[in-house]
């Protein structure tokens, strides 16, 4: 176990280095020039040359990469072109909002998904089961942004239950509890929109897992021993049914990020997803590199944690 974890941890820097080099070349070899976005359209040749030199873009790519990696080793991710600020600061500033959105959506997806999947899986072929199944199928098939806009139109504009955009109310400057409630109010719709696909997935996984474990000998044995049905379902069946849920949900952090790009766009949620999109369009190389680093790191860590959690949940697994 320790050896396995160690091996995986040692792999991380190499994997990251590979990804950095790959994206660095991809980004820098693309046609176009970040100075265009920076200069507006008014710069003359001298201005362009000056700006390129300022950002070190006039040097050979290999040298640029070397400089980047050297700075990275010191924890310096560079300065964002469009913001004129350290990339680390730009990214960290937006991190909490994205974590709030993704975290809420994650909790929503897992709790709702497991509840739905559990109730469906307990009574196969019942009305509940079929309604849940069809909803889960639909939730998994609808484009995130489409659903988000439908929700926005009906629930926010028509019914007025939720605000349209943003993290807080622009006209008020709440503090304390009021601020907390205000953010919560703004958070619900985007978190729900982002969660729908996850809910669908978790529901299906839980349901299938329930069906399989409910038919397994030890559950039948527990029943035979006279344990109450609900207790068996929860204590024995659900716990085992959750194993695949853990792996799949843990492996989907990347999906959650891409969903965040879309949701954040629709609801004007000021997070990292939007930052990535803006940086792409403006060719803000340092931000792009920083974001790729962050996302890759998150994915790698999520995978590792998933494996470990899995091992804890299922003692049969032995890592070599």
């Amino acid at each position: 176990m320790t050896r396995y974890v160690l091996r995986r941890v040692i792999q991380v820097p190499f994997l990251l280095l590979g990804i950095l080099v790959f994206t660095f070349f991809l980004i820098h070899l693309a046609p176009g020039d970040p100075i265009n976005a920076l200069a507006g359209e008014y710069g003359n040749a001298a201005y362009f040359a000056e700006m390129r030199a300022r950002y070190g873009l006039d040097r050979p790519i290999a040298e640029q990469l070397f400089i980047y990696l050297k700075n990275l080793a010191r924890g310096d991710l560079g300065t964002a072109y469009t913001y004129g600020q350290p990339v680390t600061r730009v990214i960290l500033e937006r991190m909490p909002t994205t974590l709030l959105l993704m975290g809420t959506s994650f909790i929503l997806a897992t709790s709702v998904g497991i509840t739905l999947g559990f109730s469906a899986g307990r009574r196969p072929d019942s009305l509940v089961d079929h309604s849940v199944s069809i909803l889960a199928l639909l939730g998994y098939a609808l484009p995130v942004f489409w659903l988000a806009q439908v929700m926005l139109y009906f629930l926010a504009l028509k019914l007025g239950w939720f605000p349209i955009q943003g993290l807080t109310s622009a006209r008020e400057q709440y503090t304390g509890l009021r601020l907390f409630l205000d953010v919560g109010h703004h958070l619900l719709l985007p978190a729900a929109a982002l969660a729908i696909q996850q809910i669908a997935l978790v529901t299906r996984l839980t349901r299938t897992g329930m069906l399989e474990t409910l038919a397994s000998p030890y559950v039948l044995a527990a029943r035979a021993r006279g344990l109450g049905s609900r207790r068996v379902d929860v204590r024995h069946a659900l716990r085992n049914a959750l194993l695949p849920v853990v792996t799949v949900v843990g492996g989907r952090i990347g999906f959650l990020f891409s969903g965040a790009v879309l949701t954040e766009s629709v609801f004007a949620w000021p997070g990292l997803g939007r930052l990535l999109l803006e940086a792409t369009l403006a060719r803000d190389y340092p931000i792009l590199m920083g974001m790729f680093l962050l996302i890759s790191l998150a994915v790698i860590l999520a995978n590792l944690i998933t494996d470990l959690v899995y091992a804890i949940l299922d003692p049969r697994i032995i890592y070599t």
Binding site: Y47, A156, A170, A268
Partner: protein, 595 residues
């Protein structure tokens, strides 16, 4: 079991179709199609948001702003008075109402400004916010006439080589320091002429020096007569920064001072949440007495245009910079919202959507092919269906807004596919299999795809296959101006206030090369070069106008480009807010809202 399964399947389908029908029934459209179509013809000048977003940044590349020999400044302002016909604006009617002080104005912006130093950049993002924090030496009214701002009056020498500005006394920066002529000199010499690409390109070579005889006088000396200076001094073009903050900062483009702006403007920065919002509050010590009326202006970052509009309609937002064409009708009909049409915005005005022919390509070296394009493209349809009537069909290379230079009665190429067909036959491009004569690509920003779609169908009728090549902005600039890897392309060229700034760049042979938004057609005509030079060094407006008309006669004969439509912008506001200076970057100085 089997029956149960079939039954459940039936139910599943029932649920599905039920959902479909519910959704269909629930989505009742708030405005009927007829209303919108009517409105599209009623509502005069405004443009689709996509087009304008690019348009407002596309402006002049005045790489060699040749000196204008103007007799005196009065002539300049005369000329400028002719530039724009005033547009009827809703708040003119409201103008009689007494402004109410107080309140918060919420403004939707598409991107985070990133930083608040408007002197180091020309991009729309920072200017849309920071222009309210700073001032220029002069302000421009909605006809681009100079008005006092930091300078209360000015004089221009008879040969237009020396400008003397007398500054308002008693102005203080937001931190309490006094504002002086040294701030002006410092800002120009150390920041604007180095970082503001437009001011750098326009003034760098001709500005001889800036003198400050006393604390409240600034003198600009030029090495040759220069007419359009006053148009270059408003807060968007030349915002004045505090010397005491920026002096000693090694790189003004990368400093934390840009995040803590200290200006003289009507509002000062209160807080900035990256990617979310910027909050400005009233400058209690603003040097214009009684202004501003608003207590606070909050800029909300809302990237999707559709969401911006929903927020405006729901009342979460009071001001939207650009409203897409089809929505103007609805906003105008609703009682809570209104639309302000403007021909210009901070960073660009009097724009013409222009199709560029790459004259390096053999097919476009034949004038008949270019004429065929002109005849084959139905610009009225573009006006109606792409920009929803917000603008007009272009009749000449210079905008009709610059009426003293605009050629209203030049050669025309009416929409006529038959003539186009004949011209193409004549040019020896017979239809091949499937009726296609030849295929050319069309490089464009993704926001301009709709123009391409409409033209593709129109050109198909005469046997020309137009292949759309959307490229993100930077990639498109690279392809068109650096690589010259394109057959045709579309760009919103903004004429701005003087043809020497916004028009000349597209046609003179000296402006061919890897410069964004330059002579992309690669059009070379010595006579045109000569005429533009003459027009720049002529003082008399009428004479200049005649020269520009001659230029347009030639261009309309030779068709290096095809001018499609003149576009206007429209600003969406809540109806209870009034007196915006919607054409300016400093739009909220005089604004107020009924509570």
């Amino acid at each position: 079991m089997k029956q149960i399964r079939s039954l459940s399947r039936l139910m599943q389908q029932g649920i599905l179709w039920g959902l479909v029908i519910l959704a269909a029934a629930a989505c009742s459209s708030p405005v009927s199609v007829e209303q919108v179509q009517q409105a599209a013809t009623d509502v005069a000048p405004v443009v689709d948001a996509a087009a304008t977003q690019i348009a407002e940044t596309v402006e002049e590349v005045a790489t060699e702003a040749a000196p204008l020999i103007e007799g005196a400044a009065t002539e300049v302002s005369e000329a400028i008075e002719n530039i724009a016909e005033p547009t009827a604006e809703p708040e003119e009617v409201m103008g009689e109402m007494e402004p109410v002080p107080g309140g918060t104005l919420v403004v939707a912006i598409g991107e985070d400004p990133g930083q608040f130093n408007p002197a180091i950049t020309t991009s729309f993002g920072p200017h849309s916010v920071a222009d309210s924090i700073f001032n220029g030496l002069v302000a421009l009214d909605d006809n681009a006439n100079p008005q006092p701002d930091l300078a209360e009056r000015w004089t221009v020498s008879d040969d237009a080589t020396t400008y003397t500005f007398h500054l308002v006394e008693g102005v203080t920066w937001h931190d309490g320091e006094p504002f002086t002529s040294e701030d002006v000199k410092f800002t120009f010499e150390n920041i604007l002429l180095k970082f503001h690409s437009r001011t750098k390109a326009g003034l760098e070579t001709i500005l001889e020096g800036i003198d400050t005889p006393d604390e409240h006088t600034v003198i600009f000396r030029f090495n040759a007569p220069y007419g359009p200076l006053l148009q270059r001094l408003d807060v968007t073009e030349a915002p004045i920064l505090p010397r005491h903050i920026y002096e000693g900062i090694e790189d003004p483009s990368q400093t934390d001072a840009n995040l803590k702006p200290v200006g003289t403007g009507p509002f000062k920065l209160d807080s900035h949440t990256a990617g979310a919002e910027v909050r400005l509050v009233r400058n209690e010590n603003y040097f214009k007495k009684g202004l501003p009326y608003l207590d606070a202006v909050v800029f909300r970052v809302i990237p999707e245009a559709a969401t911006q509009l929903l927020a405006l309609e729901a009342g979460e937002v009071d001001y939207v910079w650009r409203v897409p064409g089809p929505d103007t009708a609805r906003l105008q009909q609703a009682t809570e919202t209104a639309v302000i049409p403007v021909p210009a915005g901070p960073g660009g005005g009097f724009c013409i959507m222009t199709l560029t022919f790459n004259l390096d390509r053999e097919v476009f070296q034949d004038l008949r092919v270019r004429q065929a394009f002109a005849h084959a493209i139905d610009r009225q349809q573009i006006l109606d269906q792409v920009i929803f009537g917000q603008g007009k069909v272009a009749v000449a290379p210079i905008s009709s807004r610059i009426s003293w230079a605009h050629l209203a009665d030049g050669p025309t190429y009416p929409y006529d596919p038959d003539t186009a067909t004949a011209l193409l036959d004549d040019a020896n491009y017979p239809p091949g299999s499937g009726g296609t004569r030849f295929s050319v690509d069309f490089v464009h920003f993704p926001t301009f795809s709709k123009y391409g779609e409409v033209m593709r169908e129109q050109l198909k009728k005469v046997g020309i296959d137009l292949e759309l090549r959307p490229l993100e902005r930077d990639a498109a600039i690279e392809a068109v101006f650096n690589q010259r890897d394109f057959d045709t392309n579309i760009i919103s060229y903004c004429n701005n206030t003087d043809p020497d700034i916004g028009v000349r760049r597209m046609y003179v042979s000296t402006n061919i090369g890897p410069i964004p938004f330059s002579n992309g057609a690669n059009y070379i005509n010595p006579r045109i070069d000569e005429l533009f030079a003459d027009a720049a060094s002529t003082g008399d407006t009428e004479e200049r106008g005649a020269l520009y008309r001659e230029i347009q006669e030639i261009l309309l004969e030779e068709l290096p480009y095809w001018w499609l439509v003149e576009t206007d912008f429209s600003v969406g506001v809540r109806a209870n807010c009034h007196d915006f200076r919607a054409w300016s970057g400093q739009f909220a100085e005089t604004a107020w809202c009924e509570s």
